[in-house]
């Protein structure tokens, strides 16, 4: 575990969101009995260590009109996946792009890229752009549309 008990309390105090007040870190500090500078220093250290990926907002794609989202999956030549995955990851309509293990025989795909669009036909156009980049390094592909959100809570540290 790379978090000490103070870090952990800071994580718990902020995992639902940063307070929308002029001095949010001072408010977090006050609830934890810490100083503002300690909270800022610890958040900065956690960010440097990669425990915090970033302090940022997460847009709701659906509310913003991106009502079609497809998890596109690709069977990409292992020798080229790093180079090609990096290229796919920079496309503005791709939100999550990962290499994952295949699960043969039923699952031959090793590159996952989430594609967002206002309609399935727009998502399909974007899928074609990805296919063009992958070219003959791709042996097969599929796309899985989400039809229902069954749960969405994000990470929660247990309070223990």
């Amino acid at each position: 575990m790379t978090l000490d008990s103070v870090d952990r309390r800071i994580v718990q105090a902020t995992q639902a969101g940063l307070p929308l007040v002029t001095e949010p870190y001072a408010q977090v500090a006050a609830t934890l009995g810490l100083t503002e500078s300690e909270v800022i220093a610890r958040l900065a250290a956690m960010q440097d260590r990669g425990v915090i990926r970033r302090i940022a907002l997460a847009p709701n794609h659906y509310a913003l009109g991106m009502t079609a989202n497809g998890m596109s999956v690709w069977d990409v030549d292992d020798d080229r996946i790093s180079e090609l995955g990096t290229q796919i990851g920079t496309l503005p309509f791709v939100t999550h792009c990962y290499q994952r293990p295949r699960a043969l025989p039923e699952w031959p795909y090793n590159l996952f890229a989430m594609l967002h669009g206002e309609s399935r036909s727009e998502v399909q156009e974007k899928q074609a752009q990805v296919a063009a980049i992958l070219g003959n390094a791709c042996r097969g592909h599929d796309i899985l549309y989400s039809t229902r959100i069954l749960k969405k809570t994000g990470l929660r540290l247990r309070d223990d």
């Binding site: 790379t2 929308l20 949010p24 958040l43 907002l57 939100t95 290499q99």
Partner: protein, 160 residues
């Protein structure tokens, strides 16, 4: 989250400043005593205006979260994408069994023989296997694990 996730905002719900905020604050947020003032300065708004706009975007459902994004693996835990092929007549019952685990952070129904895709987020690396095995025992269905091997970027941009 009290607001339904699947509601599309009317096109005029966001002005150009809102869109600039949505884009800019996906990348990061200052660790300074008055971060809204500092982030607002780059966007041409006061800190108070930025706070009001973020609160409104959150209440509208245009953003799902604003704050630190933690990396479970760096905190000593783990994340893993999982999939199951659930017979349609059992879908809702299995969904209830899966969602009952607090380790299940997101869960989506998708268009594929593997029709249930969820993310496990756990405090410890062995929590992934333990939770997956528990779900298999409860449901009698195989849980396929797709841990990320490499990440190529995460981003999303609205038209500014």
């Amino acid at each position: 989250m009290t607001r339904p996730l699947r509601t599309v905002l009317p096109p005029d719900a966001l002005d150009s400043t809102d869109r600039a905020i949505l884009n800019a604050l996906q990348d990061g947020f200052p660790l300074t005593p008055r971060p809204y003032d500092d982030a607002g300065a780059d966007l041409g708004v006061t800190g108070d205006d930025l706070i009001v706009r973020l609160a409104r975007l959150r209440d509208l459902g245009a953003i799902t979260r604003f704050g630190p994004f933690f990396d479970a693996a760096e905190m000593g835990g783990a994340f893993c994408l999982c999939a199951m092929a659930v017979p349609s007549h059992r879908f809702d019952a299995v969904m209830t069994q899966v969602n009952a685990h607090p380790e299940v952070a997101h869960n989506y129904e998708r268009t594929h023989a593997l029709n249930m895709w969820f993310v496990l987020a756990t405090d410890t690396p062995d929590g992934i296997d333990r939770t997956a095995r528990a779900i298999e025992d409860e449901t009698g269905l195989k849980v396929m694990l797709f841990p990320k091997l490499e990440e190529y970027f995460i981003g999303f941009r609205v038209q500014a």
